[in-house]
Amino acid sequence: MIIENRKSKVIQVFMVEDNPDDIELTLEAFKESNREFNVNVAQDGIEAMKYLRMEDEFNNRPHPDIILLDLNMPRMNGFEVLAELNKDQKLKDIPVAVLSISQSETDKSKVKALNAKAYFVKPTGLDGLYDVIQKLVAIVEG
């Protein structure tokens, strides 16, 4: 009998974020967490879709357990990424959590309508990021 040791499982995170500071701080927060994560990053929606469809240089990259998605990005924004994912049979079941600076209720309800699993307002400080990471784990393992 094989018992899967869930604790040891590395969680594959795919982060879509254009702000280099946010990328670095979030990566640090992942590292500080008590779980093991493997985080890949794309810096806009177009690059994100290429990665997820494993096109070109993204061939053989790990399939994500969860997508952490920013909304306001150049070329293709977070809403457009969500709409693309919904249309794609192979990708539509990957859970998406939005992490955005926007506190607008309109944005929150738009994101919900596009089937995102969670909406987090970008926190100030590391403690807020640890909380977000805890919630991501809950979504993946829930």
Partner: protein, 367 residues
């Protein structure tokens, strides 16, 4: 000056042109017609500076046409002529502002010319004021949008600053010297401070940029919400809070809630020094067109020289260690009350407690 005379009595037309010729000015020109509807036609093709209308000329059915003229040419001044002390046809009652009412039997040339000039000057002034008002409203709106955008966009780099300072502190605390640790601590505190201030500016500018339309709201319900939100502070200080039954008003529920909550929170804060028990009463009275609410406390009070200053954003009278806060609450109250067409002020003296008064129009404000 081109004058359009509306007069159906030919004799009066002659008298009036006589008066005009007596004090004739260069560039002065008189056009006349016998009905309001033909005046309307003339105005369509001629440039007119002032209308001189005999109040006995328009019939009741003409009042609509006179209003049309006013709507089509809002900057056109009117001067009215009448035979009677009591007008048969009241221009003011149909919304037309007559600058100067002249009695035909007392009329002379000088009076007529002065009335015409006054009317034009008055209208010019009004037009100028209106232009300035529109300009002022526009620049106020711009400023609000600007402060909203600035404070919104400032949060982004500030988040990075706070994040990296925390990272620095977490990873290197103790491995640098004591001075470095102290600097990091100060940086952290300053970043937090700035974060709070930016959030406050955002909320302050949101009062008008993210405002809800006014509805009929029950102030008793608003007060219940406010007291609910302040439950922790009330329990901690043992504050005794009483209130009159409050009226219904026409307001933005969340904003008015904010006013009550900020004022009561302030009262609790400044009345609980040295384990004093805050005693607070919320009441109101009707004063003409307004409800005047008040929040009265037994706190430390303030000197009258500060009465204006406390309503300005980021103005504080006490050290942070004495009474925490950023100096935003009362500024917020003032702005909300002004948006509702009311005013706010304080009555107080050091050691004698404070009473904050604010008014809300009984019948609502058109915003």
């Amino acid at each position: 000056m081109r004058i359009l005379l509306i007069e159906n009595d030919l004799g009066d037309v002659q008298t009036i042109s006589g008066f005009l010729y007596e004090n004739w000015e260069i560039n002065c020109e008189l056009l006349s017609c016998s009905s309001v509807s033909s005046a309307n036609e003339i105005l369509g093709r001629e440039k007119i500076d002032v209308i001189l209308v005999d109040l006995s000329t328009p019939s009741k059915s003409d009042s609509g046409t006179l209003l049309d003229i006013r709507d089509k040419f809002p900057s056109l001044p009117f001067v009215a002529l009448t035979f009677f002390d009591e007008n048969e046809f009241d221009l003011a009652s149909c919304g037309i502002d007559t600058r100067g009412l002249l009695y035909k039997h007392k009329l002379n040339s000088k009076m007529l010319m002065r009335a015409l000039h006054d009317a034009i000057e008055h209208k010019d002034l009004i037009t100028q004021l209106q232009i300035q008002k529109i300009e002022l409203e526009r620049s106020n709106k711009d400023l609000e949008k600007f402060s909203y955008a600035v404070s919104h966009d400032l949060r982004e780099p500030l988040r990075s600053i706070s994040g990296f300072i925390q990272l620095l502190s977490k990873k290197y605390h103790g491995s640098l010297d004591a001075k470095a640790d102290h600097y990091i601590e100060r940086l952290n505190a300053a970043a937090k401070n700035m974060q709070e201030m930016i959030t406050s500016v955002l909320e302050y500018s949101r009062i008008s940029t993210h405002a809800e339309p006014f509805k009929s709201v029950d102030c008793n319900e608003i007060l219940d919400h406010a007291l609910g939100n302040l439950e922790v502070a009330i329990n901690e200080t043992g504050a005794k809070i009483t209130h009159d039954p409050l009226p219904m008003v026409y307001a933005d529920f969340l904003q008015l809630l904010r006013v009550f909550q900020n004022l009561i929170a302030n009262s609790i804060k400044f009345s609980s020094k040295d384990k004093n028990t805050p005693i607070i009463h919320i009441g109101f009275s009707k004063k003409g067109e307004f409800y005047e609410f008040y929040v009265k406390d037994n706190g430390i009070g303030i000197d009258s020289v500060y009465f204006e200053r406390i309503f300005t954003i980021f103005q504080r009278l006490h050290k942070e260690s004495e009474f925490p806060g950023y100096g935003v609450g009362l500024a917020m109250c003032k702005r909300i009350i002004e948006r509702h067409g009311g005013t706010i002020h304080i009555e107080s003296a050091p050691g004698k407690g404070a009473i904050f008064y604010f008014t809300i129009p009984v019948n609502g404000n058109s915003q």
